[in-house]
Structures are given as C-alpha cells and as structure tokens.
C-alpha cells in the first residue's frame, strides 16, 4: 500500500475508532469498574471498592434469578415457536399468487415499535373490554385476567414476541427457499424422492446455515426484551414477567439507583451477548461476505 493510501485509510477510519472509544469502550470499562463498587446514586459517599460482592449477591438474590429465568423462558419457548411458525409460513405462501403482497404485509409486525405493541396488548388483553376475552366467550370460556396472573401474563409477553418476530424468521427462510434451485428439487423427484424427502435432503441442507443465523439473532434479541414488558406488565404480577434487561433497569434506575449491583448484572448479560454475537459473526461468514477475509 502506498504511503498516501495508508494515510487516507487511517484518516477515514479514525472518526469511528475515536467515537467508539469514547461512547462504547469507556462506558464499558467504567461499568466493569463500577460492578466492583457499591456505587449508589442516592447515597453521597458510596462508590467504595467491594470486590466481587455484587457478583456473589446475584446468586443469593431470588429476584435476579427469577428474571434470568424468565429471559431464559422467552428464549426457549418463544424462539422455537417463531422458528417453526416461520418455516411453516414460508412454505405456506411460496408460489401462491400474490406472495409479494403477503410478504410485505407480513413485514409490518416487526416494524412496529415494541412500545406500541405493548399498548395494543393492554387493550386486546384487557379483562373488562379486551378482544381476547370476547373471542374466548364464543367458546364458552369465562373472562381471563390476562395481565393479573403470573402464567397468563407470561403467556401474553411470549405471545407478543412471537407475533412481532415470527415474520423475521419467516423472511430469512423464505429468502432461502427462493435461492434453492428448482432443478435440484426436480432432479431429486425424478430420482423418486417424495416431497418430504426432497425437503429433507435438498432444501433443508441449503436452509441450515440461514436457520442458524435466524436462531442466533433471535436469541440475542430475545435477551433484550424490554419495551413490551414496560408497557404491559411492568414485570408483574410480582416478578413473573421481569426479564433480565428489565430487572437491570429496575435495580439501576427506577427503584434503587444501585449502579454497582446493576453493573454486575449488566456485565454478565454483556458477556453472554458477546459470546453469542461472536458465534453469529462466525456463522455469517462475515469475512467472505465483506470481502476482507485473509484468503482474498
């Protein structure tokens, strides 16, 4: 690389690097430091170094454990449902006349801000006038206080996540299906494969990397769930729908201003997310996709 090329390469990358050093690295480092202190914004002389106490406290805090539990629940219930439904819908509309219109309409839920979704849910699942109870009344089911009981409130949050993000999984798989060459499927059928075998041996192997990508992105995002909870259940009743992110918010901001403890919780969430993001980058084959891998 010539000297002038190197100069411009560095000059152009500098703004990003300086920006991230100030706005991301510095906050992250200060968060790791604060996680070893008892900093509390309501207490003027807090901020002493207390070692790993905040981290040990997490394991004795039933609220922290239950919020990690609920986040895990969103991951292992909502995400698989989204994956299966996304796959089914992709097959359902493929080849139908008007599939582009259906695809576009199906995009809408994932564009709606989570907080607006929350408002809709407040109305639809309202005990007194909600449409959900109205539909159930046709089946002879008594009105349900959806947001008032732990299990139904958890159902509502998971249901909302499914409504919003199934379209995302659908889009990825649908695009993958479009890229499977039709001759390949025809060839398999000529060789005597039935529809199911063609799917299993021809389409599924092509889709597999995409399914992984969708799965990892969904897991990373499911850990961030916040707006819908804030707007519908506020983590309740009790702590039934308090997610990991929501609990950090409660500890760090809305109730306690307990920055030290919230930082410890956030550091763990950050580590989990970073691992997942790195797995994602591997699966995306980013180096090749962006033309910067070492081979080229």
């Amino acid at each position: 690389m010539s000297k002038s090329s190197r100069k411009i390469a560095i000059l152009f990358i500098l703004p990003v690097i300086i920006f991230y050093l100030v706005m991301a690295i510095y906050p992250f480092v200060s968060m790791v430091y604060e996680s070893f202190t008892n900093l509390n914004l309501t207490m003027p002389h807090s901020g002493q170094f207390i070692g790993l106490s905040n981290y040990f406290a997490i394991f004795q805090d039933p609220l922290a454990l239950s919020s990690i539990d609920f986040s895990a629940m969103v991951v292992y219930i909502a995400v698989p449902v989204e994956m299966v439904l996304g796959l089914v819908f992709a097959y359902l509309i493929r080849g139908l006349k008007g599939e582009r219109v259906f695809r576009t309409l199906f995009l809408i839920p994932m564009m709606i801000p989570g907080i607006v979704f929350g408002i809709a849910a407040q109305m639809i699942f309202n005990y007194l006038f909600g449409a959900a109870n109205y539909f159930l009344s046709f089946l002879g089911i008594q009105p349900i206080a959806w947001l008032g009981q732990a299990s139904t409130a958890q159902f509502v949050i998971i249901f909302l996540d499914v409504l919003q993000w199934t379209p995302f999984v659908f889009l990825i798989i649908y695009a993958g299906l479009l890229s499977v060459p039709q001759d390949l499927i025809d060839a398999a059928k000529v060789d005597g494969a039935n529809g199911w075998q063609a799917f299993l041996h021809v389409e599924f192997p092509t889709l597999k990397p995409l399914i992984y990508v969708a799965l990892i992105i969904r897991i990373i995002d499911a850990l961030k769930i916040f707006g819908k909870i804030y707007m519908t259940t506020w983590g309740g009743p009790g702590t039934a729908t308090s997610s990991w992110s929501f609990y950090i918010y409660k500890v760090g901001v809305s109730y306690g201003w307990d920055i030290g403890y919230a930082s410890a919780l956030a550091v763990i969430l950050l580590i989990v997310s970073t691992i997942l993001v790195n797995i994602l980058i591997k699966f995306l084959n980013l180096g090749e996709q962006l033309g910067i891998s070492k081979e080229t």
């Binding site: 090329s5 968060m31 914004l41 309409l105 199906f106 995009l107 839920p109 007194l128 901001v253």
Partner: protein
Amino acid sequence: MRPKTKRRIINTIRYIFTILILVVFLFPAYWITITAFKPSSEWNQWPPHFWPYHPTLSNFFGGNSVSSIEGILPFLRNSLVVSTAVAVIAAVIALLAAYSIARFKTGGMGLAGWIISMRMLPPVTIVIPLYVIYAKVNLLNTWTGLILIYLVPAIALGVWILITFINQIPKELDEAAKIDGASNLQTFTHIILPLSLSGFAAVMVLTFIQTWSEFLLATILTSNSAAQTLPVYLGRFITGYNIAWGALSAAGLITMLPVIVFGIIFQRYLIRGLTFGAVKY
C-alpha cells in the same frame, strides 16, 4: 380426483390459512389504528367494537392534553431532530470508515467484527454507566446526549451496509482514476461518493427508523419535553385508572406510521440490514 382439481383445493386451503395468519399478526396494528378514531364512549365498550361506529378526530385535536394528543408537538419535534441528526451523522462517519475498510482492508476482520458487534449488544448494558457519565457532563435530558448514544448502533449498521455497497463498485474505476493522476481523496469524492449514494440513502432511512422506535435509552436518559421522544411520550401517557385509550392509540399511530411507511418503501434494505446480509432480496 384429477390432479388439477386437487391442486385447486390445496391452493384454496393455503389462501385461507395465509389470510387467517395475516389477520392474527396484523391485529395489534389494526386495533391501534381503529381505536385512534374511536370516541371515548367506545374505548372500553363491551362487546368491543371492531371498527369505530362513530369515527372522530377528537383523540388528535380534543382541545386538552389529557384526552387528546394536543401536547404531542414538542415530543414529535424531539423525535424528528434526534432521528434526523443520527441518520445524517451516522451515514457520513460510516461511509468514511466503510471506504477505508472495503478498499484498504484497514484493521482486517477484527476491526470490522468489532464495529459490527456494536449493533447487537443489549442497550441496557451501556445505559447504566452512561447515566453516571452523562450526569457528570450535563448531557442528561439533551438532544446531544441522545444523538451520541444512538450513533453507537447506527454507525455499526451503516458501516456494514456501506461496505457491501462499496464492494460492488468495480476496483478498475479506482485504478483508472489513479492512472489519470487522481489522488486518493479525489478518487473518493469523484467515484466512490457518487456511486454509493443509494447506499448512503439506505443507511439514513434505516438508522432513522431504528432511532425513531427506540425506547429504553430514551426513557432513562431524558426527563421532560425538552428532549423526550415519542415512545417516551407514549410510556408517560398511562397514568391512573382512567387511561385515555383513544388518545394513547392516536399517539401510537403517529409513532408507528412513519416507520411502517418508510419500512415498506425501503424493505429491500431493511431486510438486508436486519439480517446482516444473510438475506438478499
């Protein structure tokens, strides 16, 4: 049964299921939209009205700030200012970085991966330390404070999209320009810049949408109408027992409408951006 008849029956069943599924998935958006035009007598009617029997605009222009969204203007202004600023600044910084990475492989995979991972990290992890920092440097409840933090994911998204755009510009053009005696800077301004304008626009739209919808950071880092954005305005609307559902829905409609319209128009880029290029339409 003849195969043709069989296919027709199967297709009919597929249409029925497709439409049923769309009805379920679009129901929340539909409910927000109709409630925004319902008069207060219909907000909590039983059985619920599935369309406004007496449509009204009173939720938008009701003359007071409790049962209508008369007070929405400052929040709308804040959302527009913050989202537009983020869109422009992110696109500029990202274009420079993307040029450097795409053409000169600056920093290699390590740097690219690091920048892109900024897009995926949970916002709640950055907001806790940032609150403490902002309190010290007086950035709480300001446009600047919001713009700075929103640039973190926005630039990451922008760098990623623009690298793919710049990669599509043939390198021969750069080389031809160089042979004609152009400097690197001239190559950038005369070849890369004009040819990546559509990518530049895509980044602006996507980062605008992303910023417009953000709630968690905004609700923590702002405290009144000087800087609060629309999603925060929505959150503050629910107070007491008598919630003004119509007004709340009207505000919700105004919050989601630009995102949906922009999103549908630019769906190609939206999908690419959201899936990190795993999907190309």
